[in-house]
Amino acid sequence: MRKHPRLIALNVLVVAGAAVMVFPFLWAFVTSISPGAGLSATPQLIPENPSLSAYAELLQRLPFVQIVLNSLILAILTTVFQLATSSLAAYVFSRMPFKGRNAVFAVYLATMMVPLQVLVVPLFVEMKSLGLIDTYLGVLLPGVASAFGVFLLRQAMNSVPTDLDQAATLDGAGHFRIFGLIILPLVRPALATLTVFAFLNSWNSFLWPLIILRTPAMKTLPVALAALQGQYTTQWDIVMAGSVVSVLPMLALYIFTQKYIIQGVAGTGLK
C-alpha cells in the first residue's frame, strides 16, 4: 500500500467516523456498569466503582428473561412463517403461470406500499373482535406473510434457469418436489437474506406490539425498554443495562450474518 498523505488523512477521518458510530454503544455500556449514573454533571469515562448492580436490579424489577424470550420466540416464528409463505408464493409467481397472475402479483406489491399506521386502528379492532388483544398470536399474525419476501424470493427464483425444473418435470417430478428439491436449495442466499431481514424487523418492531400487548410480562424487548424509561426516569444505569442486553443478541447475529445483511441491503437499491 502506497503511503500517500491524502490516503492517511482519509484513513484517520474514516476511523474517527467509525469511533462516532461505536461510541454511543460503548457509552451505554459504561453507563450500565456505573451505579448512580446521571447524578453527577461530570461524566466518568472510566467508572469509579464498576458494578453489575443495574443488571441485577433489571432482573429483579422486570421479568427480563421472559421478555427476552418473548422477543426471541416471536422473531423466530415470524421468520419461519415468512420464509414458508413467501417462498411458496414466489414459486407460483416465478414458475406457475395462470390467467391474471400479473394482476395478483401487482396486488401483493401494492400491499408493500401501505404504511402500518393506516392499519393500526382497524387491525386493533379486528384483533379485539377475534379476542386476540394481549395475546402472542395477535402480535404474530399480521407478520406471517411479507410481500417484500415474496418479491425478494421471486427475483432470486427468476434467475434460476428453467432447464433444471423442466428436466425434473420430464422425470416425473411434480411442483412440490421441484419446489423443495430444486428451487429452494438454489435460492439459499436469498432465503438467508430474508431470514435476517424478517428476524431483524420482528426483533426491533415497536408500534404493533406496543398497541396489542398489555400484560407487562408478555411485552417484547423494545416495548419493555420504552416503558422502563418512563418508570426509572433518573436511573440511567438501569435503562442503559436494558439497552445493552437488547443489543447483544443482535450484535451476535450481526457478526455472523453481516455478509447477508449488507448484500441484502445493497441489492435492494439496485435496479
Binding site: V14, M96, L119, V120, F206
Partner: protein
C-alpha cells in the same frame, strides 16, 4: 412410442401405445383442477394474511374515517367531516410541519454523510470491510435502543454531548427539554442510525461505475471535484433516487424514535403525524379522526412517491 403431452403448464402426461394395443392410460383426475389447486395451495398461506391483515384493514380504515367513533361505542356517520376538521386543525398542521422539518433536516444530513463515507470506504483503505461493518452497526439496532441511548447522550445536564461541548467552551442546548432543540435531537439520532444504510446503498452504486470512465476523465484533465460532479453523481443517480424515495416514505412515518425520545414534546414541538395518530386513537379515543389522518398520510406519501417516479426521467440516469 412415447409422446410428451402438450406443454400446458401442469398438464404433462405420457401416453404409451405399443403394438396397436392402447396401454392403460393413467389419467390424473382433471389436471386443470389439480393445477389450480396446487396454485391455490402455494398462494393461500401468503394471500390470506395479506388479505385479512393488510387489505381488509386498509379498506375498513377508510370506513372508520367517515365516522365518529371512540373504539367502544357505536359509530356515528359524519361523512368527510373528520377530514375537514383535520385539515384546519392546528395540531394536525403542526404535526405535518414537524414531520416535514424532520425530513428536511434528516435527508441532506444522511445523504451527504452516507456519500462521504461510501466514497471513503470505496477507496483502498486498510480494514475497509470491518469499517463498513462498524458504520452499519446502528442499522441493526432497534429504534428504541437508539432513542434511549441518544436521550442519555443528549441529556441537558448530565449527558456527555453537552459535557464535551462544555470542554470547548460551548454551552450545550437543552436538547429534548427545549422546544427549539427537540427536533434537531431526533434528527441527529436518526441520521446516526441510518447513515450506514445509506452508505451501503451508495457503495453498491459506486461499485457499479466502470473504472474506465474515471481513467478517461483523468486523461482529459478532470480533477477530483470535476470527476465527482461529472461522473460519480450522475452515475449514482439511481441509488440516489432509491435513497430519496425510501427516506421520504420512511420519514413521513417517523414514530419510534419520537415516541421514545420526546413523546412529541416538549410543548408539542416534536409532535409528528404518526405520534398524532397514536395519540388520537389511544389517548383521546378519537378513532375516526385517527383513521382519517392515517388515510391523509397514506395519500400524501402516495402522491409524493408518484411525483418522484414521474420526475425521475429528468435526472435519474439508468445507464
Amino acid at each position: 412410442m412415447t409422446t410428451v403431452g402438450n406443454s400446458k403448464p401442469g398438464v404433462l402426461r405420457a401416453t404409451t401405445t405399443r403394438g396397436g394395443n392402447p396401454a392403460p392410460i393413467r389419467r390424473k383426475p382433471a389436471p386443470r383442477l389439480r393445477y389450480a389447486l396446487t396454485v391455490a395451495l402455494f398462494l393461500l398461506p401468503s394471500a390470506l394474511p395479506l388479505l385479512f391483515f393488510t387489505i381488509v384493514p386498509m379498506v375498513s380504515a377508510f370506513w372508520i374515517s367517515l365516522n365518529q367513533w371512540n373504539l367502544v361505542g357505536s359509530m356515528k356517520w359524519v361523512g368527510l367531516d373528520n377530514y375537514a376538521r383535520l385539515v384546519t386543525d392546528p395540531g394536525t398542521q403542526g404535526a405535518f410541519l414537524h414531520t416535514v422539518y424532520y425530513i428536511v433536516g434528516y435527508l441532506p444530513l444522511v445523504y451527504v454523510g452516507g456519500l462521504a463515507i461510501a466514497l471513503a470506504l470505496n477507496a483502498r483503505i486498510k480494514g475497509r470491510s470491518m469499517l463498513r461493518g462498524l458504520y452499519f452497526l446502528p442499522v441493526v439496532t432497534s429504534w428504541i435502543v437508539v432513542a434511549l441511548v441518544w436521550r442519555w447522550l443528549l441529556n441537558p445536564s448530565t449527558g456527555i454531548v453537552n459535557w464535551l461541548l462544555g470542554l470547548i467552551g460551548i454551552a450545550g442546548p437543552g436538547w429534548w427539554t427545549d422546544p427549539a432543540w427537540s427536533m434537531p435531537a431526533i434528527i441527529l439520532a436518526s441520521a446516526w442510525k441510518d447513515l450506514g444504510f445509506v452508505m451501503v446503498i451508495l457503495l453498491a452504486g459506486l461499485q457499479a461505475i466502470p473504472e474506465e470512465l474515471y481513467e478517461a476523465a483523468t486523461v482529459d484533465g478532470a480533477g477530483p471535484w470535476r470527476r465527482l460532479f461529472s461522473i460519480t453523481l450522475p452515475m449514482l443517480s439511481p441509488s440516489t433516487f432509491f435513497v430519496i424515495v425510501l427516506s421520504l416514505i420512511n420519514g413521513f412515518q417517523v414514530f419510534d424514535q419520537v415516541y421514545a425520545m420526546t413523546g412529541g414534546g416538549p410543548n408539542n414541538s416534536s409532535q409528528v403525524v404518526v405520534q398524532q395518530i397514536y395519540d388520537l386513537t389511544f389517548r383521546y379515543g378519537r378513532a375516526g379522526e385517527a383513521s382519517a389522518l392515517s388515510w391523509l398520510l397514506f395519500l400524501f406519501i402516495l402522491i409524493i412517491t408518484l411525483i418522484q417516479v414521474r420526475g425521475q426521467k429528468k435526472w435519474v440516469n439508468y445507464a
